[in-house]
């Protein structure tokens, strides 16, 4: 077990408590930067996709994990981001303008719809966001001059400072661009969570009535959280558009919303790390199933590829098992394993058992 000797409040304010965890992040970032030299084109494209999903996952995590607002409509913000970015770039604006604008438009849209929506909570909010998703989907089809309607639109190739970041022509550059965006957003997110704004999000999630008593404007806080959430998701949507290249409204289906919700739930609600772990699982698992199936076919001659829906079924079973046996998600499991070894042999099985809140009152509603 590591004991940290603190001599100033800055040790608690810093993102990392000790140099060791700072070094671990640096090593991880180093590996990620060097990834194009370590793996082939196929895996690099997969890693890019995972990073985009992690970005979208972080977006949803702000709303679901840290402010307690469930959203089934986040595919709508992905789509707003993707179409805004593509439309602005097709109109001749550079990526460096169109990309932040995509996040801003998605964020403002999210904040505006949040003002009436955040008065609801739980399942009602989920249904309201689902309605928003349906409206946005219809709007995309109706606004044909901008979105290309049912036919779809093309996300132009990214070039700035004379360097190409084309998804196919310069995949390495495209990967680094996305890695940079993800690193920047992660840093901003971590900063947010150690500041008064992040604490007000957690306060609203855990007890609205005492948040009010502490002077927190609950409606404004929720709208801000939802706006930031949809803004980050909009950025991910823009990148997703570039990653796919040519897309129409079908790319941003309700299944994307549900998958995003799975990313944050399986990854671990309330942990930034959870968005990454969830994204790795969601993007990696179908690939893994496919690889294992091909391996089985090659070694034993059993071809499971002819059975339709088998991949989806296996995927679903794994997810269901996760939700039943590890509700705190992958990151929660990792914390338990780490604690077990850190305080070995003092870990007890009930250490992480969720305690029922004692005497929770209904009187204050």
């Amino acid at each position: 077990m590591r004991i940290v000797f603190k001599t100033s409040y800055d040790r608690d304010i810093d993102l990392h408590e000790h140099g060791w965890s700072r070094a671990k992040i640096a090593v991880l970032l180093g590996i990620m930067i060097l990834l194009p030299f370590l793996v082939g084109e196929y895996y690099l494209a997969e890693a890019t996709n995972t990073l985009i999903w992690a970005l979208a996952g972080m977006g949803l995590m702000i709303a679901v994990g840290h402010t307690g607002q469930v959203s089934l409509g986040h595919a709508a913000f992905l789509s707003i981001g993707a179409y805004t970015d593509a439309a602005l770039m097709n109109a001749g604006l550079p990526f460096l303008v169109a990309f932040p604008a995509a996040g801003l438009v998605a964020g403002l849209f999210g904040a505006v719809i949040a003002i009436p929506a955040v008065r609801m909570s739980g399942i009602y909010l989920a249904i309201a966001t689902l309605a928003v998703f349906v409206i946005v989907e219809e709007l995309v089809i109706l606004l044909e001059p901008i979105t290309g309607g049912v036919g779809g639109t093309m996300a132009p190739s990214i070039t700035f400072f004379g360097i190409s970041f084309d998804r196919y022509g310069a995949l390495q550059n495209f990967y680094w661009l996305i890695l940079g965006v993800v690193a920047l957003v992660t840093w901003g997110y971590a900063n947010l969570m150690r500041s008064p704004t992040g604490r007000s999000f957690l306060a609203v999630r855990d007890s609205e009535v005492s948040a009010r008593a502490l002077g927190i404007n609950v409606t404004r806080t929720k709208a801000l959280a939802f706006g930031l959430s949809s803004g980050v998701t909009g950025l991910a949507g823009a990148l997703m558009g570039h990653y796919i290249g040519f897309f129409n409204y079908e790319l941003f289906s309700i299944f994307i919303s549900i998958n995003l919700l799975l990313v944050v739930t399986i990854g671990g609600l309330g942990f930034i790390q959870g968005a990454f772990l969830g994204a790795i699982l969601i993007t990696g698992m179908p690939q893994l199933i496919a690889i294992m199936r091909d391996g089985l076919n090659a070694s034993t001659g059993i071809d499971l590829g002819s059975i339709p829906g088998l991949d989806t079924m296996m995927f679903s079973v794994i997810l269901i098992l996760f939700i039943i046996f590890e509700p705190t998600g992958l990151y929660g499991r990792w914390l338990k394993i780490r604690t077990y070894f850190e305080i070995f042999p003092l870990a007890r099985r009930d250490m992480f058992r969720r305690q029922k809140s004692y005497l929770k009152t209904e009187r204050m509603k």
Binding site: S210, A213, G215, I216
Partner: protein
């Protein structure tokens, strides 16, 4: 001039008159207790002062200002802090984070500055932390600083909630049954803290309490209420000697006969 002045306060939920015509004044530096049987409307008075309920009638003045029309989230910045009868802490955060949330009214940075974590944010965080450490030292919470609320015993949670209210840096603190569910020793600690809040921090305390030994020990004046109506007001001894108060707690001879 009195710090808090409640005049003819009433709130009706449909036909239920939870509070009906309660008036009292709390002077600066005073410990004022509200007592009464279950369902008398004591906590409802607190919820009216902290603007969670909308009064049907009456006014509330704090520091010479009418606060009856304010929103619940405007109350803390005026200098009114409160605790809850059944503990409303942020369960999935540490004690330290809970206390820092109490500093919300003193925040000086907006969310953009927070995301970029400008040097200004760090300076403000150090100041928040320094203030919170004073509260931790006062309430002797050092051992629990980094513990999650969800795993703490009831008595400690109760203290953390008082700490969170103190972190606001209030002029008036509303304590809703600070001793309920506490052991005799813990209740004695609460009594000492209330004394210190008044003497060292210059706070005014308004509390709802059932534990008469605590009320007798710390309060200057007591208001007894029953069925939403005021029964008696005065020193703890005067109020306990009042026949109406005794009747409300013990029943009247006629009722016993029936």
């Amino acid at each position: 001039m009195s710090l808090l002045e409640v005049k003819d306060l009433a709130v009706h939920f449909g036909g239920v008159k939870a509070v009906d015509g309660v008036s009292f004044k709390v002077d600066p530096g005073e410990v004022f207790a509200i007592i009464g049987p279950n369902g008398a409307g004591k906590s409802t008075i607190f919820n009216l002062i902290s603007r969670i309920y909308e009064p049907t009638r009456g006014t509330i003045h704090f520091d010479g200002r009418n606060i009856t029309g304010l929103k619940a989230h405007d109350i803390a910045s005026l200098g009114i802090a409160r605790t809850f009868q059944n503990i409303e802490l942020f369960d999935h955060s540490t004690v330290l984070a809970n206390l820092l949330m109490g500093r919300h009214t003193h925040r000086s940075t907006n969310f953009v500055q927070d995301i970029l974590f400008l040097p200004k944010v760090r300076r403000a965080e150090r100041e928040h932390r320094r203030r919170v450490e004073e509260v931790i030292e006062f309430l002797e919470l050092e051992a629990y600083r980094k513990k999650m609320i969800a795993g703490l015993p009831y008595g400690v949670r109760k203290v953390v909630e008082i700490g969170r209210a103190l972190a606001i840096g209030p002029k008036l603190i509303l304590l809703d049954e600070p001793a309920s569910g506490l052991s005799v020793e813990e209740t004695q600690d609460v009594a000492f803290w209330i004394e210190d809040m008044r003497r060292d921090m210059g706070l005014t305390v308004l509390m709802v309490e059932h534990d008469m030994s605590l009320v007798n020990q710390v309060s200057d004046r007591v208001l007894a209420v029953a069925n939403g109506k005021p029964l008696a007001e005065g020193t703890p001894q005067e109020v306990q000697a009042d026949p109406h108060v005794q009747a409300a707690y013990l029943g009247t001879p006629e009722e016993d006969a029936a």
